[in-house]
Amino acid sequence: MLGEDITVTVLEVRGDVVRIGIDAPRSLKVHRAELLAQLEESNRQSASPSEDVVAELSKALGRDKE
């Protein structure tokens, strides 16, 4: 238990795989920390591409359509 209303349960252990269940109120966002870290990294990499890259991509997408 975490606090009053969050339950963490090991659902299954099979070889190298452990399934974990998290039972929490719907209002609480439950995300895997490693996924969040991955998304932060992906967003940082995606942020503010150079004008050249944007122009090239825009052109390529136009071509792709035809």
Partner: protein, 154 residues
Amino acid sequence: MMMTTTLTGESRTSRPDGDTVTVTETDSELPVIELVHPMPGFPDLHKFALVQLDDAGRLSSLTSLEQPDLRFLVAPPAPFFPDYEPEVDDEVASELGIVEVEDVLLLVVLNAGRSLAETTANLAAPVLVNTVTRRAAQVILDRPGLPVAAPLIA
């Protein structure tokens, strides 16, 4: 694709055909959207403008109004990932004030590479925009088969 038209149509009708919408216009002309949660890695930024970058509506940018040098390339996923139909839970729908599914604009964040072949799309966390309320969020879908970096073209 329809949604993109809806969202940008307003600002384009006042312009001659073929004129490009740019970020140098005054804020009042831009479709300003508000993120109900900041994007992972970019805390504190809530106000963005959605700017169409090409005539076909295939490429847009989410440009921060609070940090003007920051923008993300976004695209409607349908032309690239025809089977991509992410489901979001009621909590997200209610946060965005979604009433009709037709009001939702689905976008994926692109990580632009040097070429189209090196460009990836984030399918794990699409951006959902309620085109009526202009509330949006990068929704985190923790599901197998939805990669953070899916090649844009196969």
